[in-house]
């Protein structure tokens, strides 16, 4: 057992995973009271000595409870102490179960009591009393909202991982991984995984050689390509013997799923399903398996499917093409510049190793938010969660994207040739949540284009008949990093994109010069209120919102405090933000233009 003992000193503490509710640290001197790490960061122990200089760091007297070691994923608990804050930890793989259960039950009880107490002064639509937020010991976040009207529920799993997290040259990995996770696990989708895995390795090898040969371009050896293609095809047809096709989908649909799907965004990847509420265990069984034991079956034919998806939704659609080129212009270096689906040449070269690497790194429990809304018993649900998802070992936290977009030096303007009628996109770089500016841009967005009385719609579509439509979007293409406030408009013939662009700038200037009217602000607040209330009526809608805000802003209560924060924003702040961000030098403009004959 000596091998398993290792020493961790004060400096390396941030590397240990902190298990919530299970750890107490006692200090010498005045700090003898138990220390609890601050809430909101479950991944690290932050250890801050608040005593003024020249006091040194506090001396540890005793540590109770245990940690999880980053490398081995085993539980470790302090065995003895030494001076200079060096503590020995012992591998505690087999920690007593009883303690866990007792502490957890206590915690649940406490939460219930707290909820009951807080329910007293909650009004009918007080969200905070309706939503329960808990954590599994491996760091997963669980949000639950009960709605017992119909025996159905919506279950959302969000990973804080998306296209923005892809290494360069591997665009499209996050999205492709999402496709591959529908192909089953070691126990779902196979007749005999042991035999299958041997063929899978061969397929991987053949596919990789084929990719490398094709990559050579002019120097490609056609004979070799043919040979390898044949080999791959033969292996693939042999592989079919062991495959139960789309078994995951089969089981879910047989059990009455609705909306069994997934989506990949810049920031997040989401796996969704709604089920009759007696079948929640099925979801827990399948999804926990999918997080632990995925098998990338049919890798190469699925890669072709993604290429078709790209042709369909990016290359054949004028707006999407315009948006793709616009983002690649607005961001010079930040990965928000890459399309979510990936660049064609990079999709073609994605290989199983790269995708698996992304999975291992980013699909960590601490990176997961589960939202369950519907006919759910929270305690029973948490038991299921512990039982199925609790066995997933914790992982190191995933670092954020390093790259920052450098200061923009001057307007960027592009034309995108496409055989379609003209369209216009204008974007301004801006900060993201929780920056106050993000809230202000939500208000600006509403003032400009929400509804028939909004400024741009009224002026451009109703009064001056310049455009058929005008829209704004705050937070393009994602919300985890500084992003873009985007205005899109479609001119009404014979007006051109220049005509409507001019009018848009005039209205942006007005935002800088005149304060917004009370009527407009009142309208926006009322609309937000209605939106929140009517959102409550839909299980999937609510699961979507809760998990989204938990993932992006770190706390779903973004939703319940949203209106309060919006209410504190003054007209002066809106003018300031308009002046600060709506500047010519900070904008990107893209127009869709019909190509002349033979131009493209």
């Amino acid at each position: 057992m000596k091998k398993d003992n290792f020493m961790i000193n004060k400096r390396s503490w941030p590397d240990i995973h902190w298990l919530p509710q299970r750890m107490k640290i006692y200090f010498h001197g005045k700090h003898t009271h138990p220390f609890t790490a601050p809430r909101g960061d479950e991944n690290r122990i932050y250890f801050r000595d608040k005593r003024p200089w020249p006091f040194g760091p506090p001396q540890i007297m005793k540590i109770e409870g245990y940690f999880r070691d980053k490398r081995s994923c085993h539980l470790v608990s302090p065995r003895s102490m030494k001076i200079n804050n060096e503590v020995y930890f012992r591998d505690k793989k087999k920690v007593g179960r009883a303690f866990t259960l007792v502490s957890q039950t206590l915690f649940i009880l406490l939460q219930l009591i707290f909820l009951l107490l807080s329910y007293k002064n909650a009004c009918a639509i007080d969200l905070e009393s309706k939503v329960i937020r808990r954590h599994l010991s491996n760091g997963m976040t669980v949000l639950i909202m009960e709605r017992h009207e119909t025996p159905v529920c919506s279950l959302y799993i969000r990973f804080k991982a998306g296209a923005v997290d892809e290494p360069s040259g591997e665009s499209g990995t996050a999205h492709f991984l999402e496709h591959l996770l529908f192909k089953g696990t070691k126990s779902i989708g196979t007749t005999d995984y042991m035999k299958e895995s041997i063929i899978l390795e061969k397929i991987e090898k053949a596919g990789k050689y084929l990719d490398w040969e094709r990559q050579k371009g002019d120097k490609m050896d056609p004979n070799r390509v043919e040979h390898l293609s044949k080999e791959l095809a033969a292996l693939q047809s042999e592989h079919k013997k062991y495959v139960i096709k789309d078994e995951m989908d089969l089981i879910y649909s047989q059990n009455g799923e609705k909306g069994f799907n997934a989506s990949t965004g810049m920031d997040l990847t989401t796996y969704t399903v709604s089920l009759p509420s007696n079948r929640i265990e099925l979801w827990a069984r399948i999804e926990s398996d999918r997080m632990m034991n995925p098998v990338f079956r049919e890798f190469y034919s699925e890669r072709d499917v993604v290429l078709e998806e790209r042709r369909q939704s990016y290359d054949s659609n004028p707006f999407r093409k315009l948006l793709e080129q616009f983002l690649a212009t607005a961001f010079l270096v930040h990965p928000y510049r890459n399309p979510i689906i990936g660049w064609e040449s990079e999709i073609e070269m994605l290989d199983p190793d790269k995708v698996m690497e992304f999975f291992r790194r980013h699909y960590a429990p601490s990176n997961v938010i589960v939202a369950a809304v519907g006919d759910i018993d929270p305690d029973r649900f948490m038991q299921l969660m512990e039982r199925y998802f609790g066995r997933i070992p914790p992982q190191p936290p995933v670092p954020p994207v390093i790259t920052k977009e450098p200061l923009q030096r001057g307007e960027r303007r592009i034309e995108v040739l496409f055989d379609a009628e003209p369209q216009l996109l204008i974007g301004f770089l801006k900060p993201t949540v929780p920056d106050r500016a993000d809230y202000i841009f939500d208000i600006i967005s509403s003032i400009l284009t929400d509804g028939r009385t909004s400024r741009l719609y009224k002026r451009m579509v109703i009064d001056e008949k310049l455009a058929v439509s005008v829209n704004t979007m705050n937070g393009v293409p994602g919300g985890r990093y500084p992003n873009i406030f985007m205005i899109s408009a479609t001119p009404l013939y014979p007006n051109t994109t220049e005509d409507i662009e001019r009018v848009i700038y005039e209205e942006l200037e007005r935002l800088k010069d005149e304060p917004v009217s009370d009527w407009e602000l009142g309208k926006i607040k009322n609309q937000i209120q209605v939106e929140i209330i009517s959102g409550l009526a839909s299980n999937p809608g609510m699961a979507d919102k809760l998990s989204y805000f938990e993932a992006i802003s770190g706390d779903w209560r973004y939703l319940s405090t949203y209106l309060d924060i919006i209410s504190t924003i003054t007209t002066g702040e809106i003018q300031d933000a308009a002046r600060k961000y709506f500047r010519k030098s900070q904008r990107t403009v893209a127009t869709l233009v019909k190509p002349e004959d033979g131009e493209i």
Binding site: S187, I251, S253
Partner: protein, 505 residues
């Protein structure tokens, strides 16, 4: 020389060398077997205690999990008829302080006279945007938007609709506006102009996206000689006057032509009072609405090719099919599910997408309407595999006609449809909507109650019979949008090619 790449590859990536990996793999299995033995011994030793162990259950295959039954009595809205003929469906739901109204009106673009195509849609739009007797358009918008309320109106192919969604506290104000919009729209000339210009612009843009071209050409063909197959033209839109809209509205918007579904946070009796106050004095209409014509013609095989240099071909093929008010509807639903609408396990999806990687979107659709239906299949694929995909789709349709389906497929389809049925009751407003559209389409009001039974009764033979009766691959209309230069197979292999006219009129 041929071996060179292998060597460089291995060297380059030596950490992940395959030989090394597969060797590791074998080792892993060995050790797993060893622990399996240990596990077996432990299980044998502690057999009784292990059975109750929860963890053993975790590795059960998901298809073997069992579930407690669902106890649920589906609610049903109350139906009543006002003296002037408005049919009301009411369902209280006090969960959130919101009230929703959805009304369905017997009208549709199907009733447009020739050369006036587009008038129904414009009427539907301008009812909401063009102001009413009491409110001018701008006041109306301001009032509604300040409350955060929304009112929508529209006229589609075979029905008109109007909806209101508002907080309970603002309901009394909003219902006044809603009633005015239905009863006294004034069609402000300027708003009529805007609607016409928007529609003209959408015609100018009708060739921007491949799917739009494909579905337009498909409809034009399968509804040949039927008002459903008429497409609006710029020339026709220009001719429409405000007067035409007023008349179109007068002809169809009267109380005994309206079914209204109301759901949300209200007391039933109070709601009936409010509705009576706002709609009670609306006089009954006397002019009968003519029955809708029924499209029936199934054409000979036609291949319509729309040329546009998209990097992908869009394929849409199909024909008319059996109606919803027919016992054949249920087996047809099951058939469609298995053939191409049931997700990854449907045949088209399996063959074309997951086995061959030829398409991202592929499948079949079936829509049963009153007295007719439409069946079709679609796929988007790269130009070089266009012919291959058309062949595969036709092959799959032919296969289901010749061979029918098997028991596994039937069980899967039935279970899926039956277990999913509970979602029909997931929202009160959705449920009320189902009831008003059942009444609108003249379907029995126990349709939802008997639906499960009707689906369960479908047999393998039914499906085969239905496939033989209704699927007509050799007589279907095939539309292909794309660039024929890159096609793997000339289109005339599939029939006489007609080129679609993509000019704007």
């Amino acid at each position: 020389m041929i071996m060179m790449p292998f060597i460089t590859f291995d060297n380059y990536n030596h950490r992940y060398s395959y030989r090394y990996r597969s060797c590791m793999h074998r080792l892993r299995y060995k050790s797993r077997f060893k622990s399996l033995w240990v596990l077996l011994i432990i299980i044998l030793l502690f057999l009784p205690s292990c059975i109750s162990n929860q963890t053993a259950k975790l590795d059960v295959h998901p298809s073997q999990l069992t579930y407690p039954p669902i106890v649920f009595t589906p609610p049903k809205p109350d139906r009543m008829v006002l003296p002037n003929g408005i049919v009301l469906y009411l369902m209280e739901d006090h969960e959130i302080p919101l009230i929703k109204i959805n009304a369905i009106i017997r009208t549709g673009s199907i009733y447009e006279s020739e050369g006036m195509t587009g008038i129904a849609e414009i009427t539907g739009t301008v009812m909401r945007t063009g102001g009413t007797k009491t409110w001018n358009p701008e006041e109306l918008d301001r009032k509604l938007e300040y409350m955060g309320a929304s009112i929508g109106t529209g006229i589609g192919l075979e029905s008109g609709s109007a909806s209101l969604s508002v907080l309970k506290k603002d309901f009394n104000e909003a219902i006044l506006i809603f009633a005015e919009i239905l009863r006294y729209p004034v069609f402000d000339p300027e708003k009529v102009e805007i609607a016409k210009m928007k529609m003209t612009e959408s015609i100018r843009r009708q060739n921007d996206e491949p799917i739009e071209i494909a579905s337009r050409e498909f409809k034009r063909r399968i509804y040949q000689g039927d008002p459903r197959g008429r497409m609006p033209t710029i020339e026709g839109i220009v001719r429409i006057t405000r007067n035409d809209l007023t008349e179109f509205h007068r002809a169809y918007y009267f109380p005994n032509n309206i079914i209204m579904g109301i759901s949300g946070d209200f007391e039933k009796d109070a709601m009936i009072d409010i509705i009576t106050r706002n709609f009670g004095d609306w006089e009954k209409g006397s002019q009968p609405i003519p029955a809708m014509p029924v499209p029936s013609r199934i054409d000979e095989r036609a291949l319509i090719y729309a040329e546009k240099p998209f990097p992908q071909s869009t394929i849409l093929l199909g024909h008319l099919c059996c109606p919803k008010n027919d016992p054949d509807y249920f087996p047809m639903e099951v058939l469609n599910f298995i053939l191409g609408s049931g997700g990854f396990n449907s045949r088209l999806m399996k063959e074309i997408r997951s086995d061959r990687g030829l398409a991202y979107s592929v499948g079949s659709f079936y829509r049963g309407a009153v007295d007719y239906g439409v069946f079709g299949a679609y796929a988007m694929t790269k130009p070089g595999t266009t012919g291959k995909v058309i062949d595969l789709i036709l092959e799959e349709i032919n296969r289901v006609i010749e061979e029918g389906i098997n028991t596994d497929e039937l069980d899967w389809a039935r279970d899926s449809i039956l277990n999913q049925f509970i979602f029909s009751f997931a929202s009160t407003s959705g449920l009320v909507n189902s009831y008003i559209s059942l009444e609108y389409n003249g379907l029995p009001d126990d349709y939802l109650e008997t639906y499960k039974c009707n689906i369960s009764n479908v047999s393998i033979d039914d499906v085969k019979r239905i496939a033989q009766k209704y699927l007509k691959p050799q007589r279907s209309t095939i539309v292909v949008v794309g660039n024929a230069q890159g096609f793997d197979k000339p289109l005339d292999c599939f029939g006489r090619v007609e080129e679609a006219d993509l000019n704007i009129y």
